[in-house]
């Protein structure tokens, strides 16, 4: 694991005014099930926003809309100033090469080794690399999550928490400018959870990455969040800092901090 103990959240990096993701009035339903109902949110460069919400409230749906895996019924999503709902396949791929996505279910490729899993996004995004450079990148990414020894194993041989960390390494390998984390610390022990949270903060400080984080783990939320967006009934119910929301008198918000 990288040495992240020196990172402190006393002075969070100042987010610039540049907006990297702008979500405006996004609506999404599945049949009669209205999931998102006019959701608005802006993510600035170098900022970590945590999305809080009950299970089934549509958090995963929201970030899948951002990456273009789901198409919103209405509204606009701009990533780096481009409206993802209107891009063609190639343009979308170019945007996706700059965005990392951590799946809630990890989505590691069962038929490939850990190394092939990590190489997959590099090879597919047309990134020209020698075998040596590719190896170095793979080892660096694995070192970041403390799993360098698993490089030639198959995903099936790993524990649940290890798979989560491999998935995280795969998300981070291309050094994306925006990272969408879907429950990065769920299923991890508190120590590893803390290390992952620290890694997320470290990345933000080092590369000025912007992240949208979905998490129920309040320790992780407290450590990583610059702001918290509360998703209730398909809308952004509140947007404030951790302390601001913790002090809130709103009973709906209070539930999350109990």
């Amino acid at each position: 694991m990288t040495d992240t103990t020196t990172i402190s959240r006393e002075s969070p990096p100042v987010a610039s005014q540049e907006t990297v993701i702008r979500i405006s009035g996004v609506k999404k339903s599945f049949g009669h099930n209205v999931v998102l109902d006019g959701f608005n949110l802006d993510l600035h460069k170098g900022e970590n926003i945590v999305v809080l919400g009950k299970s089934g409230s549509g958090k995963s749906v929201l970030i899948k809309c951002i990456i273009g895996l789901l198409r919103p019924d209405d509204g606009e999503i701009q990533v780096f100033g481009q409206n993802v709902t209107e891009l063609n396949h190639d343009e979308l791929d170019q945007v996706r090469a700059r965005v990392g996505f951590l799946f809630q279910s990890n989505a590691l490729y069962d038929s490939m080794t850990v190394r092939e899993n990590l190489e997959f996004p590099m090879r597919r995004h047309w990134i020209k690399l020698s075998q040596q450079e590719a190896n170095e990148m793979v080892m660096e990414a694995l070192d970041n999550v403390g799993l360098a020894h698993t490089v030639d194993m198959m995903p099936i041989e790993l524990s649940g928490g290890m798979r989560k960390r491999i998935a995280l390494a795969r998300t981070l390998i291309l050094k994306p400018e925006i990272i969408l984390y879907d429950e990065p610390t769920t299923g991890l022990d508190p120590i590893t959870g803390k290390e992952i949270s620290d890694l997320m903060v470290e990345l933000q400080a080092k590369y000025q990455t912007s992240s949208l984080i979905i998490s129920h783990d309040m320790k992780c939320v407290e450590r990583t969040a610059d702001k918290i967006a509360v998703l209730i009934e398909g809308k952004c119910h509140a947007l404030d800092s951790f302390d601001g929301l913790k002090a809130s008198a709103d009973p709906v918000i209070k539930q999350f901090f109990e």
Binding site: L69, D93, R96, A97, F103, A107, L108, Y109, S111, H125
Partner: protein, 276 residues
């Protein structure tokens, strides 16, 4: 009494609504047919546009051929052997035993070889494709490919369908050859014939071109198996149960399609005068 009246009420209800509602099963059938047609259409529109996943195609060809080689070879051998042994008594009765090599070869090459090989292929490869893509779908691996700069339809579906369409005809050539070898051995259990005479007999009557219609129809068999497997896998519903169902449905549907295509193929070859 209660049950009876409830039953009639239900029936009356159905008749009353008849012009407005389609029975759910029928609706499902039509919807499913529409979806498969669209999926197949997508294969043709996406499959011939770059980027071409040539490496993955070769890898699939290798895997598909390699996986089914031994099973197809063994069954083909037994098929030729058994067919020869069983056809001998009736031919003896009519005194045309010398026709045995030709009759076996003709039925193996034109019909039994392609169809049996395709059915085995559907069971082994089709179900494998259905299960593999199904589990990739439910564990979001297909979505992960999509966000990694890959068009999963091209990477997974187009390569597999092309590979099954190419490999099945090749497997059929192999299986027919092995069947004839089995037939030769089967002949020699009770009778005696030299290798040269046996194959001389066959090709005296059977033109080499007889294999062409077989290969063309097996290309369609292979296409059907690949397409159905990919479709069922790609659209399998959430959960591990859906994966099993995708594999199972692939075998059932593609086996049925094989016979359907066979039926159409025999009409066409007959019209074109290929059957004699």
């Amino acid at each position: 009494m209660m049950a009876f009246s409830a039953g009639t009420a239900y029936k009356a209800d159905i008749y009353r609504n008849m012009p407005l509602t389609i029975p759910p099963k029928m609706k499902f059938f039509f919807e499913e047919t529409g979806h498969i047609a669209r999926f197949t259409g997508k294969f043709f529109t996406e499959g011939f546009k770059p980027r071409y996943e040539f490496q993955e195609f070769l890898r699939q060809c290798f895997l598909i051929g390699n996986k089914s080689l031994s099973l197809v070879g063994l069954t083909a051998f037994i098929l030729g052997l058994v067919l020869t042994i069983q056809l001998r008594p009736p031919l003896l009765r009519y005194g045309v035993e010398f026709e045995l090599p030709y009759i076996v070869a003709d039925s193996v090459i034109r019909e039994i070889g392609p169809v049996i090989t395709a059915l085995i292929f559907a069971g082994k490869i089709g179900s494998g494709i259905g299960a593999e893509l199904g589990s990739m779908k439910v564990t979001e691996q297909i979505d992960a490919m999509e966000v990694s700069g890959t068009n999963p339809f091209k990477y997974l579906v187009v390569t597999r369908v092309l590979a099954t369409s190419l490999m099945l005809p090749l497997l059929v050539i192999m299986s027919c050859s092995i069947s004839l070898l089995g037939a030769y051995i089967g002949y020699n259990i009770k009778g005696q014939i030299s290798f040269e005479l046996f194959f001389g007999q066959i090709f005296q009557w059977l033109p080499f071109s007889a294999i062409i219609p077989s290969l063309i129809k097996t290309l369609f068999f292979g296409f059907a198996v690949g397409m159905v497997g990919c479709y069922r896998g790609y659209h399998s519903t959430k959960g591990t149960e859906g994966v099993g169902r995708a594999a199972n449905a692939t075998v059932v549907i593609s086996s049925f399609l094989i016979f359907l295509i066979d039926l159409v193929a025999v009409q066409i070859t007959d019209l074109l005068g290929f059957t004699s």
